[in-house]
């Protein structure tokens, strides 16, 4: 039976641990994906996953339902990831100017840009392409990465992402725009020149 989140939470608060496991089953993939994108390290992502759901269990009694459960969960999980990142102390701290990611006009001419490959799935069949994309994501400051992951990967609205991250909608939009431009810029040379190579189909 597919109970709504709140019905599961009521059962959990009444002492039903199986209901908690059902709630974990519902969201564990999404939280793990968030953690992998934020932390780029399998063990750290697994630790963040475990820590997030433990905090959920401990905090459920004080969850007042003023926001969606999923927004609350992602706020909590994002904070767990950001804490881990801050402890590492090796993350980029500031965003480089947007201009650095834009095509340059030279000698009064228009910049020369080329079409990217038509089919994204062809690009993604190569391990190298995925690696390039994840490396680029890694170059973003964590606050920008979090916005991009919640909005463009997890499909949150601006308002939900703002609530999850404790920032205004205007800040979400501004960070998202800068993150997208930066990622495009970092990947442009690779995809425009077709360096992503030939798709490999042999593994599966």
């Amino acid at each position: 039976m597919d109970l709504k989140d709140q019905a599961l939470i009521d059962k959990i608060n009444a002492g039903d641990f199986q209901a908690f496991e059902a709630l974990v089953n519902r969201y564990e993939s999404k939280v793990y994906r968030l953690a992998m994108r934020m932390l780029r390290h399998q063990q750290d992502a697994e630790d963040a996953l475990q820590e997030s759901f433990l905090q959920v269990y401990r905090g459920l009694k004080s969850f007042e339902g003023r926001s969606n459960f999923s927004t609350w969960l992602f706020r909590l999980a994002t904070n767990v990831c950001l804490m881990k990142i801050r402890h590492r102390g090796t993350e980029p701290t500031g965003m480089v100017p947007l201009e650095d990611f834009l095509p340059q006009h030279e000698e009064g001419n228009q910049p020369s840009l080329q079409e990217w490959p038509e089919k994204p799935e062809e690009i993604l069949l190569t391990k190298e392409s995925r690696e390039k994309m994840m490396e680029a994501l890694d170059q973003l400051p964590a606050d920008y990465r979090a916005v991009f992951v919640l909005r463009d990967i997890e499909g949150f609205s601006n308002a939900e992402a703002g609530e999850a991250l404790g920032i205004s909608v205007a800040a979400v939009k501004s960070r998202l725009h800068r993150a997208r431009i930066a990622l495009r810029g970092m990947l442009a040379e690779y995809f425009e020149k077709g360096k992503f190579g030939t798709p490999v189909l042999s593994e599966n």
Binding site: F17, F20, E21, V24, E28, S29, Y32, R33, R37, E46, L49, Q50, F53, L54, Y57, R58, L98, L102, P103, H105, G108, N109, Q110, P111, S112, L113, Q114, E115, W116, P120, E121, I123, L124, R130, M133, M134, L137, F148, D152, I153, K173, L176, H177, R180, I181, L183, R184, L187, A188, F191, E192
Partner: protein, 92 residues
């Protein structure tokens, strides 16, 4: 003439320069742009191939990350999570 003004003058058309376009691209992609500005932007892109290519590649960037992030949770991570929670939540 500053470098910026020189750049703007190269590709300005329909009242919007490339830099104006750039600022609006995310709102355009997300369908959050005022219809009038949207129209001006589309007008500009008809005549400005670099801007058209730029927005296409920006859209593809978003699509690529969506595709690339669809991997499933490894079974062993799922099992360890449930074991961990069973153990840790007992004392809560």
């Amino acid at each position: 003439m500053t470098e910026d003004r020189k750049n703007d003058s190269v590709v300005e058309c329909h009242g919007m320069g490339c830099k104006d376009i750039l600022d609006k691209l995310s709102e355009y992609i997300d369908g959050e742009l005022d219809p009038k500005i949207c129209q001006d932007l589309e007008h500009h892109m008809k005549d400005c191939n670099p801007c058209l290519l730029f927005i296409n590649s920006l859209k593809k960037t978003i699509t690529l990350y969506k595709y690339a992030s669809a991997e499933p949770l490894p079974k062993e991570v799922h099992l360890r999570l449930h074991e961990y929670l069973k153990k840790e939540c007992k004392g809560c």
